[in-house]
Subunit: 270 residues, 2 copies
């Protein structure tokens, strides 16, 4: 299948919840899944593996950059056989925050991880800034299709717009395209209409609506996805649907993002 | 006086509300204030000047990097005579997101802005990543004392911890010190106790508590601070107090920040 997706969005918006549950959902559909955490917070795969795994950057820092390594040093299996990697990040203030991603793709390329026959590869990437290592999955085409997670609040939409600007910049030169918006209604003050309008104006659709769910938080305390912990629940069904939508989605676009004035106008409607 | 402070924190946490209202408060105390916006969102000074001012990077991009410029091309006066500058940022994906800050300090140094006799200089800086240009106010000592804005929620505290790690790294080699935590209770689910515990464990105090206030939002729609729009209000008094606290605060510390495990433990208490 070789479907390669990137999940981007503002910090705390729900990328890792989305990525981990999508990985679990894809594995339930019998697919071979690789999930790659690209946030220095390095907790993307925690609820798939059931614990925090060592990060690529962490292993290299601790055991040395010039050691002989194998894939097993960096790659761990979790629920449903999903294969998991975390890039990690440098100490704050030490060079580029996205450096972990650059180091990781280099390391995994050498060890042949990308040559294996993955049905789905999911990159879970910090989206507060779209530069340095964080732009790599978009720019270098590691991800073919980007899904931006947002709520109907101004700051996440502003971040979503910036991510789209990055996609529009790289998309034509072999970079990724925008597959759609994932609406994650995290809290009380959420305007779904504004999210739909945003998607429409940039030229894509809202491919999924994730409601606020206490089961997500409950499963999180058990270090599980809802697919694993509450497979019969509505929220699990929601992620299974989103997974199916993503598998069928052939519409990657080069989005036409909003100007500063336009995104502010949109923010006023909230 | 030459008090030089940096306001850092997660995107959307309330840095610009804090910085703008502090600038206005300091000017009410008769001080000569310079406010410098270091967030690519470039709206830090909007409520002081009453409109979005051109950014340094924006002016250079539009009119050319090698033109002859004067301070008036980049620097604008607002409420109470507060002098305002916005760094701006590059297009997402075009190099380092913090590049605007590097370009700005270079440009303003050449034009002698820092040689003027400021009583207070306030840097309002993006804190989602602590790297590249965003680390400059801390690392190069442009700011002497950093105040971190946070709420009692996990993501802002996680960002606060990362900012503190950056300060701890640079603080000893001529960089800035941590002056304290500013608690901005943005929303419903806010745990003030956790903010106090965080401050205590890293070795500083909560220097101010800003309650959620609709007047902040009302003043914002008029592009004003509450100091200007509602000077008799409790929230205006709150910022006047915070300004006084900051003026008296001589305790900059090199903080001892929390490890990943420790910040997660703290997060579980919320
Ligand atoms: N739909 C939702 N319902 C309830 N809680 C959610 C939802 N989406 C996210 N959360 C919670 O918000 C927090 C941040 O989510 P996370 O996926 O870690 O964000 P990110 O990876 O974007 O930084 C987590 O504690 C998560 O459980
Ligand atoms: N104490 C508060 N009460 C009400 N609204 C607030 C408060 N603090 C911040 N806000 C609102 O939150 C939004 C983000 O604040 P802002 O200062 O722009 O964040 P930052 O500069 O950290 O990105 C603004 O719309 C602001 O009016
Ligand atoms: S490129 Fe982005 S992540 Fe890297 S140093 Fe600059 S701001 Fe930080
Ligand atoms: Mg995450
Ligand atoms: Mg701001």
């Amino acid at each position: 299948n070789d479907i390669r997706i990137g999940i981007y969005g503002k910090g705390g918006i729900g990328k890792s919840v989305t990525a981990a549950n999508l990985s679990a959902a894809f594995s339930e559909l019998g697919l071979k899944v690789l999930q790659i955490g690209c946030d220095p917070k390095s907790d993307s795969t925690r609820n798939v593996v059931g614990r925090r795994i060592p990060t690529v950057l962490g292993v290299l820092r601790e055991r040395g950059y010039t050691q002989e390594y194998e894939l097993d040093d960096f790659v761990f299996k979790g629920f449903g056989g999903v294969t998991c990697v975390e890039a990690g990040g440098p100490e704050p203030g030490v060079g580029c925050a996205g450096r972990g991603i650059l180091t990781m793709v280099e390391t995994l390329e050498k060890l042949g991880l990308f040559e294996e026959e993955w049905d789905v590869t999911i990159y879970d990437v910090l989206g507060d800034v779209v530069c340095g290592g964080f732009a790599v999955p978009i720019r270098e085409g590691y991800a073919r299709t980007i899904y931006i997670v947002t709520s109907g609040e101004f700051m996440p939409l502003y971040a979503a717009n910036n991510i789209g600007i990055g996609i529009a910049r790289f998309g034509e030169r072999g970079g990724a395209r925008l597959g759609g918006i994932i609406h994650n209604a995290r809290g009380a003050k959420d305007d779904a209409g504004v999210v739909s309008e945003f998607a429409e104006r940039v030229g894509c659709t809202v491919i999924g609506d994730i409601p606020r769910s206490d089961l997500i938080l409950k499963a999180e305390t058990e270090m599980k996805t809802v697919i694993e912990a509450y497979p019969e629940s509505d929220i699990a069904a929601c992620f299974m649907d989103l997974a199916a939508q993503i598998l069928e989605n052939k519409d990657g676009v080069i989005p036409r993002m909003l100007s500063d004035e336009e995104i502010e106008e949109l923010g006023k409607k909230i």
